[in-house]
Point group: C3
Chain length 333, copies 3
Amino acid sequence: MNFARFVDLADLSVAEIRDLLALADRLQQHPEPRALSGRVLGLLFLNPSLRTLASFQAGMARLGGSSFVITSGHGSWALETRPGMRMDGMAAEHIREALPVLASYCDALGIRAFADGRDLAADVADRDFRAMAALVPTPLINLESAINHPCQALCDWKTLDELQVPERSRFVLSWVPHPRALPLAVPAAALHMAALRGHEVVVLRPEGFALPAAVMERARAAAHASGGSVAETADRGTALAGARIVYAKEWGSTSHYGDAARDAELRAQLGHWQISEATFAAAAPDCQLMHCLPVRRNVAVAEHVLDGPRSVVLREAHNRLVVQMAVLHRLLA
Amino acid sequence: MNFARFVDLADLSVAEIRDLLALADRLQQHPEPRALSGRVLGLLFLNPSLRTLASFQAGMARLGGSSFVITSGHGSWALETRPGMRMDGMAAEHIREALPVLASYCDALGIRAFADGRDLAADVADRDFRAMAALVPTPLINLESAINHPCQALCDWKTLDELQVPERSRFVLSWVPHPRALPLAVPAAALHMAALRGHEVVVLRPEGFALPAAVMERARAAAHASGGSVAETADRGTALAGARIVYAKEWGSTSHYGDAARDAELRAQLGHWQISEATFAAAAPDCQLMHCLPVRRNVAVAEHVLDGPRSVVLREAHNRLVVQMAVLHRLLA
Amino acid sequence: MNFARFVDLADLSVAEIRDLLALADRLQQHPEPRALSGRVLGLLFLNPSLRTLASFQAGMARLGGSSFVITSGHGSWALETRPGMRMDGMAAEHIREALPVLASYCDALGIRAFADGRDLAADVADRDFRAMAALVPTPLINLESAINHPCQALCDWKTLDELQVPERSRFVLSWVPHPRALPLAVPAAALHMAALRGHEVVVLRPEGFALPAAVMERARAAAHASGGSVAETADRGTALAGARIVYAKEWGSTSHYGDAARDAELRAQLGHWQISEATFAAAAPDCQLMHCLPVRRNVAVAEHVLDGPRSVVLREAHNRLVVQMAVLHRLLA
């Protein structure tokens, strides 16, 4: 297998994912410090980053390559993404120029562009990222778009493998509190990953926070093909019973998408969705907590859980480096 | 030929420029991925950047070297450039310390310092950049100063060569609209480059936006030596007739230099200077649009031109990487 | 000798420091451009930097390694450092996750975290940095903490060696003016370094700016072991008589620590503590000025001194690169 872009885990078959994870393992056991010698990765961030920013640079370096970082608005121009604009505002440059130019300087380009958070249909269709991807002729990596985060999904899969979490076990994607609405990229990517891996997936979220129908349907189809299932509920007791994994994630209201005031009203009542040890009362004894980070301690998850034995969040984050090295190797070696 | 700094294209003879462009070609055809092994380029930005920031890092990497970036005010101290100041304001550090220190960490230093935009004579004399250059004992690269942008001029020359634009053809440097006054560095550098290459250069700009006399005179002398010519007009019809190249660029009023209110008054009437397909009505059939980027779509240039066959702006931008690798090779190999 | 972290010069014996400086000399004379091939240094900045940012990247590159930079709040998340917080404010991520994750991506991690500047006892105990250090299992470098700056102290020692400043000579650490209160890290580190090197150290500071008792006691113990001495005075005449080194540094009031208004009241009367040539009237004829930079010209030190023959500040700053390469070599080779 070879591929020219890594923008959505769903573009790969389960066999191709397993191949990629096997490559990740092989690179851990047998480092290839010259594999990408002379290759250059460009990294364009329209939004903040810690893990992605650090791990891609470290991963390229460990494979013998180099990288450069452009952060829109921090030492570089603010970028316009909307088509057809009369550009008389803050943004000095349009992605129609910026993206092909940056791509022409590097062997692969990674782009992070969070959801706009106003038009649910556009965000679910990943409209902006798809428009950007169409401007990039070189190998492309999705560093998190409106509705996807394939690097996170791949590292989560590897983490589940390492923890020997059975494929048919219960995987609960649980909404957790946050001071404000966050994008749907990670919940959508995690849901799809767990469905594709064959889990009994339960999406646990309050009323008003249902994942979009298109995301759910796509996950159901993946689950069907893999022998898993996807259910959805607002009942924490039912959902968590027998859970082998609780995957905590914050996201915004979908019934009031882009309406900060109504979203805030809803979430003001939902502080008790914070995950604490009590959350695991009816879960499997070896139930573990996953989270993509960053996580707000004592808001989304109580710190006794984050610092306790159930938490595998640091392992997940470390696996970002491990799986991305496989992606880079596949795209560029 | 060898040289210790690359701060002004006019420091080089036409033969030396052709040598440098030949080296750029050679490095494209026969990459030298270890040529700058162990060498370190420092990049200091007092102003935003996309192409320069990305292409210099990529260029060093492709030649086997490394680079570091310091962006004043973004994770690094705000820098004072004025001499003799009592430094009790925002700036924590003076360039009199910062520049020699940074230079002592690297094998070559690149500096971007846009025009102050208040004192026309000082900016035309490149007073601040010259003061900075005097503080740097190591090889130095001008990443855009008040009145110069030699990397842009060199990539433009290469682009004209690639497009086989005849040396005696008409090259129109056309003022275009922008929400506010921009510096004179690129128009001055592009004018000089075109004069040096032997073009029939026409500077097309509205009243109030004439390029400074010193810039025009320097270009006329270069044109004279190369067999070209330099004219100036505010008449778009006359200027564009038979044009082989329209080089679009935004700049501020020189008759009201540094006076934002008067400048804004003038430019409020000049929206129709935007370049559209109609601009090319009397131009040569194969007339092409050049621009250094970033460009404001539908303000400076209509997007049907930017996205159409006349535009060579992406090729120009890619050539930044190509020619800068030659500059780095010449300075450091 | 080998060590796993470089967080405080006082962790090393004088013999170990001399070993490290000998390694720095050796690397200057016999570069090892492949010594750290394949190794990755992570650099986390919670505060601005110029020298540290540039010199660590350059140093890794000169030894064949790579580095990445994370700057909190500039393209990366604002980080929470306080334990036990309910994280419903600005900070999206806690160091309890960020530090182990970043450490897991690199072979050594450098951290800069300036003093909080509110709780003197906590800052003198370097409470925050110690908490951070406990979260980092990999080799760790202190890039400046609340009360320490070992890289600066080490380069200062090397500078004194290069200048052949006798170990028993008078070293005056002189408070100098600044628009606002600055941390105690450099004065504490410079004092300890000079005491450890065996100087007759005089801490010269106005009333209200005495260095904390714990810092003074630690320095006195070091001086005792090395055959030097540590005195303290507010009398500029007495202190400067016979001085071989004036080490200028700005810091905040310790008697009104964290009280910006009272601190400002005190420093409003102290502009005459600025160092000028007159400061050296009774000093040794070859008395030299040291300063860690950045320095505010004509506020802390008159520019005729900074630009004159007494100043060795650029040499000091260059030695940051030199000694840090030895630290990196020791930690990672």
